[in-house]
């Protein structure tokens, strides 16, 4: 720590400032790592979302973690849609389907060509983790998608190293209970569907579906809580991104002070 400048300790918010400072330092280091020319990215197909990520997309050789509220929430669809552009350019998509319930036509609808789709059905958790490590390490330029309920930090790290070594992209769908757990993912995202009742659907089609995506953690960007709304049109599977509107309380405060 000798290289670091002295932090004033007398401040009342000393702990907060210290944390801020360390976060900035980390961000600078990670930003330099992101600018490394050897790494390519997978564009999500949503320019607004790509801009929120420091590398302009998901990095090859890394892990992406989507936290999903539960069945029918559409987070898996979002995750697949985010990598569909890479698949349509020739990358293989390897899906881990332990329950045997994955429906390929659903993925086809999202833009994933069936000829680039491989389904792996491991019999148990042990085989699943072994196969995940093997595919992440061996399938260079491929996208590996798996739904993981339990994942300890050691196994997570092993998967991250495998992806880094293999040059693949791992996309994991995790339950909401995984939020407080440590993560080795490059990007951790929280997505939840916006129901028609509470959501604002101005301009959206009736058959469309909208989610709120929040970047919980992203290597190279320390600011959390970046929120984006994404709408997937059910008739024409196109995606629209909506800028996050100001919170009503903030809007009221600003207008009052003005």
């Amino acid at each position: 720590m000798s290289g670091l400048p002295c932090i004033p300790l007398a401040s009342s918010c000393i702990q907060y400032q210290r944390l801020q400072f360390l976060r900035e330092q980390m961000a600078r280091l990670e930003e330099a790592w992101h600018r490394s020319p050897r790494l390519g990215t997978v564009s999500t197909g949503w320019p607004e979302f790509d801009r929120m990520l420091p590398s302009g997309g998901f990095l090859w050789g890394s892990l992406v973690e989507w936290l999903s509220p539960g069945d029918g929430s559409g987070v898996m669809s979002l995750a697949l849609r985010a990598v569909a552009s890479a698949c349509s350019r020739g990358s293989f998509l390897i899906i881990f389907d332990s329950l045997g319930e994955f429906y390929p036509l659903g993925a086809f609808y999202l833009g994933i060509p069936p000829e680039n789709l491989v389904i792996i059905r491991p019999k148990n958790e042990r085989d699943k983790h072994w196969a995940l490590v093997q595919t992440l390490r061996g399938a260079e330029g491929c996208i590996v998608v798996a739904s993981l309920q339990r994942l300890d930090s050691l196994s997570f790290r092993r998967l991250q190293l495998a992806a880094e070594r293999g040059g693949s992209l791992g996309v994991f769908i995790r339950p909401p209970g995984a939020r407080p757990e440590p993560s080795w993912a490059e990007v951790r995202l929280w997505a939840e569907p916006i129901s028609a009742k509470k959501g604002t659907f101005a301009g959206g089609l009736i058959a469309s579906r909208r989610w709120q995506i929040q970047i919980l953690r992203c290597r190279g960007k320390w600011q959390p809580s970046q929120i984006l709304e994404i709408e997937l049109d059910a008739q024409t599977p196109t995606v629209r991104c909506f800028p996050q509107l100001a919170h009503p309380e903030i809007f009221a405060r600003v207008t009052t002070s003005a």
Partner: protein, 582 residues
């Protein structure tokens, strides 16, 4: 009955004698053939020509025990093996005896074959394929050999002889006991076994030396292996036998039909040599490791296998061949403890890779008692392929075929080929039948992977029962007529869920109208009020499936934003949850 697709229609390719009796013939529309069967049960399967060719090649290699010169018929591929048995006569006693033994052993393997011996491959082929149609005699199981008419044989046969065998319909279906005197019929030696009901043998046809012309003359022109166009013309001209054909002066024959027919005739009577491409003899690639002391340690067993593997790889790699299939045996003191098979997607001689696969395979094998001996056998080999390196290799580039093959070898060896699946879409609309999963089938997709490794047992969607489904053409665009957006998915297609429950889950639902969407439904005790819904989308099975299934599908969104795929059965009115838009 086997069918094949021709010009978008299913046509009969091969059929059993029972189907033939119902006037079903090759080229007939499958729907017509099915209609002809009436209430009789008729099994119709798609014809896998590649598998047929492979099986015939394997049979040819098996025939190496009779002669080293076994060739596949390259001119008219499909059902015929050509064996040069001239030299084998010295070992077996006589050429007839070689052929009789071969036919008897084929019968023991439950393969019904028609054999013929002649001076030339062309003559043997013609007699084997077309002579029985002129003169079918009851098989050995029906008529004693002494009843078979026998033509006189010349005392000595010094000419090199060819023997051909082809698969034939079951002998017990044959009739019309008339025999032309141009060739002799010999029954296989152990026909007594046939009469005991083991399996019938076809009699052997022998064209005596110097009698090829006489033997060929009553046969139809197709017996000369000429193309269908030429035979069609000949039929129109009223020429029904080779004898009639050969009465036409050669110059006129060439002028009218080209040189092909005359060339075939000359090949058949031995005036022109025919080049045969003999199958290479399979080398016995087996290695054993005899333990000094019996062991139960898996590490030691794995090391023994690895050492055998090293020797086998050395023997193969010097010839430019790689391993495609391995079979391992683990023996105890008195019995076989276990055996396993390993299939590879690409010929490989990388010791580390193969060793890793064997180790992964050994992990799942039980060893009830100490091991005395291990044996490793190479069951399949193929020439090694060379890959061009890429200038821009690095992160994010597409995986090379070699790496793919290695990865899938590893996955299949541990998880099993049934756990590594690729998708083929079909033309069916019902979700269960709309796709099939092909186990370990990267062969047809990945250019670097062996196509022969494609497994023939596809998992048919969520319902493995259905069989007669044709994979949809690439991406299904042409067949479904959907427009596609730039991402590759169809535009006009209603959304499909990511998860499909098999079987559909019966739910209690309340609908506002008799034909409307559900207002709420209950799954596993949890109530889901429906906020929005899309549908109905009516999906029905085709009439050819027999039992008609009719469903009205709805995509419903609950108050909390989840979306599910539910349907009402139009037969029973029951609601089902079929999928979720995860």
């Amino acid at each position: 009955m086997l069918w094949t697709s021709q010009g978008g229609t299913h046509r009969v390719a091969w059929m059993c004698e029972g189907a033939r009796r119902l006037a079903i013939c090759p080229g007939m529309l499958l729907s017509e053939a099915t209609a002809l069967t009436g209430s009789r049960k008729l099994s119709a399967e798609p014809w896998d020509k590649q598998a047929d060719d492979k099986a015939l090649e394997e049979l040819g290699r098996w025939c190496h025990q009779f002669t080293p010169s076994v060739a596949l018929d390259t001119e008219k591929p499909g059902d015929c093996l050509l064996l040069d048995i001239t030299q084998s006569a010295a070992v077996f006693g006589a050429e007839e005896r070689v052929a009789q033994l071969l036919l008897a052993q084929l019968a023991a393997k439950r393969i019904l074959a028609q054999g013929a011996i002649a001076e030339t491959p062309g003559a043997a082929w013609a007699v084997a394929h077309f002579a029985p149609q002129f003169s079918r005699v009851p098989s050995s199981s029906q008529v004693p050999p002494s009843h078979t008419p026998v033509a006189p044989l010349p005392p000595q046969r010094n000419q090199p002889s060819k023997k051909t065998s082809r698969s034939s319909p079951p002998a017990d279906e044959l009739s019309e006991p008339t025999t032309p005197p141009r060739y002799r019929r010999e029954h296989p030696e152990d026909s007594s076994r046939s009469s005991q009901g083991v399996f019938p043998c076809e009699p052997l046809l022998i064209v005596p030396s110097g009698h090829a012309v006489e033997a060929l003359q009553p046969l139809p022109p197709e017996a000369l292996r000429v193309d269908e166009v030429a035979t069609g013309w000949l039929r129109e001209l009223g020429i029904t036998t080779v004898g009639q054909l050969m009465k036409i002066p050669p110059e006129e024959l060439i002028q009218r039909f080209g040189p092909g027919i005359l060339h075939r005739w000359k090949q058949a009577i031995g005036e022109v040599q025919e080049v045969l491409h003999f199958l290479p003899e399979a080398e016995d690639l087996t290695g054993q490791w005899d333990f000094e002391y019996p062991t139960s340690l898996r590490a030691e067993i794995a090391t023994a296998f690895a050492e055998i593997l090293k020797q086998l790889i050395h023997r193969l790699s010097t010839r430019g061949y790689g391993i495609l299939g391995l079979r391992g045996f683990i023996r105890g003191e008195k019995r076989m403890l276990n055996s396993f098979e390993v299939g590879l997607f690409r010929p490989c001689v990388k010791w580390v890779h193969l060793k890793g696969i064997l180790e992964a395979r050994l992990e799942g094998i039980s060893l009830p008692e100490p091991v005395y001996l291990v044996e490793l056998q190479v069951t399949q080999t193929a020439p090694l392929s060379q890959d061009q390196g890429s200038l821009f290799e690095g992160l994010g580039t597409r995986c090379s075929p070699a790496k793919w093959a290695e990865l899938f070898d590893r996955l299949c060896s541990r998880l099993g080929p049934q756990a590594v699946l690729q998708v083929e879409l079909t033309e069916e609309l019902l979700p269960e039948y709309s796709y099939c999963l092909v186990p370990g089938a990267l062969g047809s997709r990945n250019p670097g992977v062996q196509g022969s490794q494609k497994r023939d047992s596809a998992i048919r969607g969520a319902n493995p029962g259905s069989k007669e489904r044709k994979p949809r053409s690439k991406r299904g665009e042409a067949d479904w007529g959907f427009r596609k957006h730039s991402g590759g998915a169809p535009c006009d297609w209603p959304p499909r869920p990511i998860r499909l429950f098999s079987p559909p889950v019966a739910i209690a639902a309340i609908a506002l109208g008799a034909e409307g969407p559900p207002a709420q439904f209950v799954v596993s005790g949890r109530r889901y009020p429906v906020l929005r819904s899309w549908g109905p989308e009516r999906l029905e099975t085709g009439w050819w499936r027999g039992h008609l299934i009719r469903r009205d599908y709805y995509r419903v969104e609950t108050a909390s934003g989840e979306q599910f795929w539910v349907f009402r059965s139009l037969d029973t009115g029951q609601w089902f949850l079929h999928g979720s838009f995860d």
